[in-house]
Amino acid sequence: MMYTFDFSSLWAYWPEFLAGALTTLEMTFAATVLGLCIGVAGAIARGSRHAWLRVVAGGYVELVRNTPFLIQIFFLFFGLASVGVRMPVLAAAVLAMVINVGAYTTEIVRAGIEAVHPGQIEAAESLGLSVPQVYWYVILRPALERVYPALTSQFVLMMLSSSITSQISAEELTAVANNIQSITFRSLETYIVVALLYLVLTVLLKSGFWLLGQGLFPRRRRLGTPL
């Protein structure tokens, strides 16, 4: 029983693989940007003076973090369809990703905000900064700088989880692989190739986040120490 690998028959499909990888990247980009917005809003809500806001944000975080992404996707995609809301598969996939990663970023950003010393806020208020200015310059900026490594690993994990959206046939890398293997019958080879492509995406994403961090956080770039 000797298995002979045959990767050559997959060559013809490189445009499909590439398109799938690009779709994965695009979905990741959209979900990162929107997920970060939700995370910041959620973190602020979790520290709000209003009890009901804290409860809503806390409930959202716990529900999402304690249920599988696959169930969330099915709930959202098939659920919405069952009540007549038809949306493009890709949009539904990104929506599910945003909801999912938003809960994790909420917790991460919240940890960053809690690490900001209250004296910092008093100092800023005493200088006459307005409440939004205090939030932005003195709370969020250092908070985001502090949790940047945790945030970016979370976004890399989300990119990997995006493969799960293939289960509702979002045409990203994994779904492309599913199609190709069903045509070529070279299943093992196809998924090995796709595993490599995901590794490349992971490295790309990590490097991209590193570069972005160098640009966004001059203090880290110059001192190299965590905040």
Binding site: L127, Q133, R141, P142, R219, L223
Partner: protein
């Protein structure tokens, strides 16, 4: 001389604990006032009420003609008139020295690029730290950080400056460099209210000394008062300080 800060019968409680129990005093323009007293006597609280980091329960506080306890107070305008320096410096760790100093002038007063830069340089010259303009707080000693914090307040050109035990966290050598900066400011005509444990400094630099005890102004006078205390409480306090 015009009155810059005026407290009248100020009461302040945290929950059931009354921390200020009828505090009254005035500070005129250009005057330097030192507040001394035992730990817990309400010195910091009194200072923090002046720029409304704490709200008072009754009495009145007037700063530069503004009623601080008024519900329609323009809080940001008050904060521009009153500079405060804390014991724990509270520099923004993610910003350079220059960015720390120009943040408020730019965002609150809309000072633009080159002008803001010049502002930072002037303020740093006043505290003797011109060469540290590009450093980050963690690269500075405690004394240097505290001087940057003073420069940050100065850059807003406040009409009165509050200092809350600004040297308590510093080694004796570093204390000296900060006190010298404050003395220079005092000589330059800045109106200053400073809570301090440095009795020698209070006597030397202050026009007037206020001794607080159990939430009240217990005794007040010139620096010479520290040589001839009238009340047994102040006598006791001074004996323990030395």
């Amino acid at each position: 001389m015009s009155v810059v800060v005026k407290l009248e019968d100020v009461h302040k409680s945290f929950g059931l604990v009354e921390v200020l129990r009828g505090v009254s005093f005035e500070v005129s323009a250009g005057e330097v006032v030192a507040i001394i007293g035992r730990s817990g006597s309400g010195k910091s609280t009194a200072l923090r009420c002046i720029n409304r980091l704490e709200k008072i329960q009754s009495g009145s506080i007037e700063v530069c003609g503004r009623r601080v306890e008024a519900p329609d107070l323009d809080l940001r305008a008050l904060r521009q008139d009153v500079g405060i320096v804390f014991q724990s410096y509270n520099l923004f760790p993610h910003l350079t020295v220059e960015e720390n100093i120009v943040l408020a002038p730019r965002r609150v007063k809309n000072v633009k690029g080159a002008e803001a830069h010049a502002l930072a340089r002037t303020a740093l010259e006043q505290v003797g730290l011109s060469d540290k303009i590009d450093a980050y707080p963690e690269q500075l000693s405690g004394g240097q950080q505290q001087r940057v914090a003073i420069a940050r307040s100065l850059a807003m050109s406040p009409k009165v400056m509050l200092f809350d035990e600004v040297t308590s966290a510093l080694d004796p050598e570093l204390t000296g460099e900060v006190l010298r900066v404050m003395e220079k400011l005092a000589k330059g005509g800045m109106t200053m209210i400073m809570v301090t444990h440095e009795m020698g400094f209070a006597r030397r630099a202050a026009d007037r000394v206020i001794y607080m005890h159990t939430g009240k102004v217990w005794e007040t006078g010139t620096g010479a008062m520290l040589g001839s205390p009238q009340t047994p409480e102040l006598k006791n306090f001074l004996a323990n300080e030395l």
